[in-house]
């Protein structure tokens, strides 16, 4: 399933491949980071156990066995793809490949945003902790978690609002090109207007988190209003089945 070449962009080479201990974003970060800081590819039994314990506490939606499976999968994928780089996690491209092959995502921009959202510490590399915690929401998140996650994905510049421009960016490939139309952007602009009319409850011309939350609570379909950023039920179940059954 995860057999794809690791296309590595040159920019990645210039980045630090190993994440430093970094600022601990959450409690488990330190413990996990400690575990990772050794040699990730040949993680000792003990370290693995430590990591599983730590993550088992922090993620609500996976049991320990499942956490272990996810870690193993992480290791496997890292080992497969980063033969040339001693990576401590997924870089942007690797992650994108995973999203594409496992969950059928295609939209480059959205995948990029998903990477950013997984990458909590903004170091352009998804660590094992970020991987497990991210998947927790991604696969089994509650409605609240998912709303938060989606909003973060759609808020391209991270300013706490989804603006008209951001919407336009995300929706610009939505329509089939119709040669007859004079301005191909016109249709997109109309669509943005429609979305704005539907979701902008406080009429300030942009979507706040509150707007977005209210709209989604009102109509669940709007959770992924600006592009698919969560797995659909089939690929989710296929992924879970494969990962949790095979690795355990």
């Amino acid at each position: 399933m995860f057999t794809c070449d690791p296309p590595v962009a040159p920019s990645d080479a210039t980045r630090p491949l190993l994440p430093g201990p970094g600022p601990p974003a959450r409690v488990t970060m330190t413990a996990a980071a400690a575990a990772v800081s050794g040699r990730p590819l040949t993680m000792s039994r003990k370290r693995l156990q430590q990591l599983v314990d730590a993550l088992g506490h922090s993620t609500k939606h996976f049991n320990k066995g499942e956490v272990e499976c996810l870690i193993k999968l992480f290791d496997k994928l890292v080992a497969e793809s980063s033969s040339r780089f001693a990576a401590a996690g997924f870089d942007r491209n690797m992650f994108r490949d995973i999203l594409h092959s496992a969950f059928g995502m295609t939209d480059e921009m959205i995948m990029d945003r998903v990477f950013r959202t997984f990458d909590r510490d903004n170091n352009s590399c998804i660590s094992v902790v970020e991987w497990v915690e991210g998947l927790s929401v991604f696969l089994r998140g509650t409605m609240e978690e998912k709303i938060k996650y989606c909003f973060e994905v759609y808020d391209l510049n991270g300013d706490g609002y989804i603006s008209r421009e951001e919407m336009f960016q995300m929706l610009k490939n939505c329509l089939l090109k119709q040669p007859s139309e004079e301005d191909p952007d016109e249709g997109i602009k109309d669509l943005v207007d429609i979305a704005m009319k539907k979701m902008d409850y406080d009429h300030d011309g942009k979507l706040s988190f509150k707007d977005f939350e209210k709209a989604v609570r009102d109509e669940t379909l709007l959770l992924e209003a600006f592009g698919p950023c969560l797995p659909d039920i089939k690929s989710r179940m296929a992924f879970e089945q494969k990962t949790f059954r095979e690795s355990s």
Binding site: G187, D190, A195, L222, A225
Partner: protein, 971 residues
């Protein structure tokens, strides 16, 4: 008159110049009407006839001076009337062949003189005076296209001053106007007879017929196809050189029962042509049959199967015909209808125009597509804009558009029709066929709402939406499944849809939605809550589908009954309602009734009678109504304490549906005596009597049925009388509802067994009403009425006199012996038994030939009939030589055979009859020959004294005869 002349009459030259009136039937009839009007005018309106025209009507006449007689001064070539206007001018002046006339008096006079030339004169007059009203009343009254204000002017004038002349003018104007309308109307009738087909009408009809044509038994046709796909710009498919003959197109029709028919549709109508030559390309255009006015009429003549299957689809049929009629009438009369729209004043008078064509239009309005861009509601544009994203967007855009579309008021018909007319419905259904769950959900959310509309339901089914939705029931997503089931529930309200769901395996899948394990628990986890929701949606869909008998069977086969039974035990009204709804719908089949009894569902049905939801209560009561035909079920209802809530529910008499179900349940439960006792305890009879007035018939049927069951006990009969139930019951005898009449006669009959009640019935003339019901064509009512008459005669004072007072009543009863229905025969025999107790009446019915009719019935195996027949024969023996007559008409031998029956009551009645018959020696011989003695002997030892006595008496008679013969022989 002006309008009719200007528009309806056929002038040779167009415009208002000096055209002449063509001699056509239409014109002729118009002229004749005008002649009649003018001729009668002076007689009917003498005052107005004297009115002097503003300008004389002037025309070239063919009349001769000499024709004028009294009252005219004739000098050479001029004729002047003696009557003159105020200004001294003659009202009629004929100079050289020019005639000037200035009053209606004179006009009608001229017509009288003209004799057979009347028509020519009026024609000449009208040709010369294209708008006679102007001449008569003045230019301001001229017929003007568009607004006609002259009447308003007149009204004002009349109001202002009491000028008698204006009043007369007004009157004349109104009269002329009336004539005008009359003319228009008759010309409309003429024109409408001349119906001609056009391409649009043919095309519509073909499309409609195509909808009902496919392989299969139920369709009206196997197929129907145009011979050519090419359509000319005028809508015709016939080649141009045939179009000149008025031909529109050619069709090949494959009916179920005849060879393919090749027909020509032309403007003159539809006819069979010579068929296709050399494959498909050439057609023998020759006409081979009569011309019919449309394809349906043609097919009705040609294919019996077509007629039969059309009749099967009654609703479809009426729609089709309405449509055809509408299209034909509409297209042909369009221009004629303009008259009515233009001549606004017509509304002021008692307009004679038939409004049928207009009402047709109203009815069909929702079917018609909105065409063109004029005055469409704003929703159209909004929805059209969104439709663009549905059609040409990726799933993300589609979802946004769907969510936005949901914000329209989808319950509103404008929006529903907009979605359909814009072609969104197809897109929505196509979306269901994708893999995109979000699009599917969004689409179903909209479909669920708009499928409240019948037209949309049919459209969804036509577009194959049901098949896809059934497939969606297999999806992994629960929300999606729920929505699909709910939408199916909405769409499957009609037969064809119900069949589609079944044929595509929908029933099995829907039953599958019911299968989960959240049942019974009171507090639900979210997961279980979803299960419950899914079961609710499944049950809703099953409820809709269960209206069809085959689906009921399919639900049972899919294992639906135990699942429904399990959900019946839960306590959520929102799922209980569809579950019980389905159950009560299915309870019309015996297998379900059995299952409801054996699976212990009665307990829960009873429990939910006390629910807070009226709808649920209603379905529970209705289920009990259907199931309680069975004795064990009735007992179960009682054992689970169901009778008390039922009687409590009677108090809610506002909700008629609920009341109908509850009274129905009470009716069926009251068949058991134990239940009646309970009902008495709850004072149900009093309540029911109180409900006898002002209820819909379906409720009354049940109430009266229940009272009828309760009446089997004397206590209850007197309760009914005490509560004043008899007058309303007798009043109901005058109704027309068949089911109601059966129950009412039964109840009244039961009540009549009390002499005190009988007095009331007699006073209210109830027996006469019962007797009249014998004339009802429904055998159930006949029988029920005849049974009711029995106790009436039995208990009435002066019964004989009363019966005789019904003119023709006895003959009616006797003639009912010719009925084919066993129950009617038995009941009439019962009535005759009672009637024959009065000697005078017996004489009358004997005269009407009761003896041979009874004798004819003797060969029967029906014990009930045997018993009552024997009783009737026994009572009829009392008159004249009836005993002998029975013997002569061979009634005796069959009677002897009755003694072999297993029914003791038959034995008793037969023994009595035989005893009576044995008074005649010849009968004795017949009886003896048929071995009666051997059969009677054991009966002498019966514990039933009447039987004992009759048997003994009969044997004694036979014996006595034997002795007498011996004596005569030997000594």
């Amino acid at each position: 008159m002006g309008a009719a002349l200007a528009r309806a009459a056929q002038w040779t030259a167009a415009g208002s110049g000096t055209g002449t009136l063509e001699i056509t039937p239409l014109n002729e009839s118009l002229l004749n009407q005008i002649i009649k009007f003018v001729e009668d005018f002076s007689a009917r309106h003498p005052r107005e006839a004297a009115f002097v025209f503003k300008e004389p009507l002037e025309w070239k006449t063919q009349l001769d001076c000499s024709a004028f007689g009294n009252g005219y001064e004739i000098t050479e070539a001029t004729v002047q009337s003696e009557a003159k206007a105020k200004d001294g001018q003659s009202l009629l002046l004929l100079t050289k062949s020019t005639l000037r006339v200035r009053s209606f008096d004179q006009l009608s006079h001229v017509l009288q003189i003209a004799m057979e030339k009347k028509l020519k004169e009026v024609q000449a007059c009208l040709e010369a005076n294209r708008d006679p009203i102007v001449q008569i009343l003045g230019p301001e009254y001229g017929t003007v296209e568009g607004e006609d204000r002259s009447i308003l002017h007149l009204l004002e004038k009349v109001k202002k001053g009491g000028d008698p002349e204006t009043e007369v003018k007004m009157k004349i104007f109104l009269l002329l106007h009336q004539l005008d309308l009359q003319l228009l109307n008759s010309s409309l009738k003429q024109i409408s007879q001349d119906v001609r087909l056009n391409p649009a009408a043919v095309n519509n009809e073909v499309n409609l017929l195509k909808n009902f044509s496919e392989e299969g038994e139920d369709t009206v046709l196997e197929s129907l196809e145009y011979t050519s796909d090419y359509v000319f710009s005028n809508g015709c498919r016939a080649p141009p050189w045939r179009q000149v003959h008025g031909e529109i197109c050619y069709l090949v029709i494959n009916p179920h029962d005849t060879d393919p028919l090749c027909i020509t549709c032309s403007t003159a109508g539809v006819f069979l042509n010579g068929g296709q030559i050399d494959g498909k390309d050439h057609i023998d255009y020759e006409r081979k049959s009569d011309v019919y006015k449309d394809i349906v009429t043609f097919l009705r003549e040609r294919s019996p199967k077509f007629v039969e299957n059309m009749a099967k689809q009654v609703s479809v049929l009426s729609y089709l015909f309405k449509m055809c009629l509408f299209i034909l009438v509409y297209s042909c009369l369009k221009w004629v209808m303009l008259f009515f729209i233009f001549s606004k004043t017509s509304a002021r008078f008692n307009n004679v125009s038939e409004s049928s064509s207009e009402t047709e239009e109203d009815e069909e309005q929702p079917v018609r597509h909105h065409e063109g861009g004029t005055d469409l509601p704003s929703e159209y544009w909004g929805i059209q804009k969104l439709a663009k994203y549905l059609k040409g967007g990726n799933p993300t855009a589609t979802v946004i558009a769907l969510c936005s579309m949901k914000d329209f008021n989808l319950a509103q018909e404008t929006c529903q029709m907009a979605i359909r007319d814009i072609g969104c419905l197809e897109v929505l259904i196509n979306l269901l066929d994708t893999e995109e769950i979000k699009c599917q959900i969004g689409s179903l959310k909209i479909l669920k709402e708009i499928s409240q509309n019948t037209l949309i339901r049919h459209a969804i089914a036509d577009l194959g939406g049901l098949e896809i939705m059934v497939k969606i029931l297999d999806s992994l997503d629960r929300e999606l499944k729920c929505l699909a089931a709910e939408t199916i529930a909405n769409v499957a309200r009609f037969k064809r849809a119900q069949r589609t769901v079944r044929q595509h395996g929908g029933i099995k899948r829907l039953v599958g939605l019911l299968g989960c394990d959240a049942v019974g628990s009171t507090s639900l986890t979210p997961y279980q809550a979803k299960d419950t929701e899914m079961a609710r949606c499944g049950a809703l869909a099953l409820w809709s589908c269960s209206k069809s008998t085959k689906n009921k069977e399919a639900i049972r086969k899919a294992g639906g009954i135990p699942l429904l039974a399990r959900w019946l035990k839960c306590s959520h009204a929102n799922i209980l309602t569809p579950v019980v709804g389905t159950l009560q719908e299915c309870a019309s089949t015996p297998s379900y009734r059995l299952a409801i009894k054996t699976e212990g569902m009665i307990e829960y049905l009873v429990k939910n009678l006390s629910s807070e939801h009226e709808e649920l209560q209603m379905h529970c009561a209705s289920a009990i109504f259907k199931c309680a035909e069975d004795k064990e079920t009735r007992d179960l209802v009682r054992q689970h304490g169901g009778l008390q809530p039922l009687s409590v529910l009677l108090a809610n008499s506002e909700n008629k549906q609920l009341l109908a179900a509850v009274t129905g349940a009470i009716w069926k439960c009251a068949i058991s005596e134990e239940n009646v006792a309970k009902f008495r305890e709850y004072k149900v009879i009093e309540t029911l009597v109180g409900l006898l007035t002002d209820q819909p018939e379906e409720v009354l049927v049940n109430i009266v049925g229940a009272l009828g069951e309760c009446c089997q006990e004397s206590v209850n009969r007197s309760t009914i009388r005490r509560c004043g139930g008899i007058p309303p019951l007798v009043k109901l005898l005058t109704g027309t509802n068949q089911a109601l009449l059966v129950n009412v006669t039964k109840t009244v009959g039961a009540c009549a067994t009390e002499p005190e009640t009988m007095i009331i019935i007699d006073r209210l003339d109830g027996v006469r009403l019962l007797w009249s019901l014998l004339k009802n064509p429904n055998p159930d009512i006949q029988a029920s009425a005849a049974w009711a008459i029995c106790p009436c005669i039995d208990n009435a004072k002066d019964a004989g006199e009363m019966v005789r007072s019904f003119v023709g009543g006895l003959e009616l009863v006797v003639n009912l012996l010719k009925s084919k229905n066993k129950e009617v025969l038995a009941s009439v025999c019962g009535a005759i038994t009672n009637i024959a107790k009065d000697e005078e009446n017996l004489a009358v019915i004997t005269d009407h030939g009761v003896v041979p009719l009874l004798s004819k019935l003797a060969n029967t195996n029906n014990d009930k009939l045997r018993r009552h027949l024997a009783e009737a024969i026994s009572n009829c023996c009392m008159w004249g030589r009836n005993r002998v007559a029975f013997g002569e008409s061979n009634a005796v031998a069959p009677l002897v055979r009755y003694l072999r029956s297993n029914d003791p009551s038959v034995h008793r009645a037969t023994a009595q009859a035989l005893y009576q018959l044995s008074e005649d020696p010849n009968n004795c011989i017949t009886m003896h020959e048929n071995g009666v003695v051997k059969l009677l002997l054991p009966m002498v030892g019966s514990t039933d004294e009447t039987l004992q006595e009759a048997a003994a008496g009969c044997i004694a008679n036979i014996r006595r005869l034997a002795l007498a013969t011996e004596k005569a022989k030997y000594g």
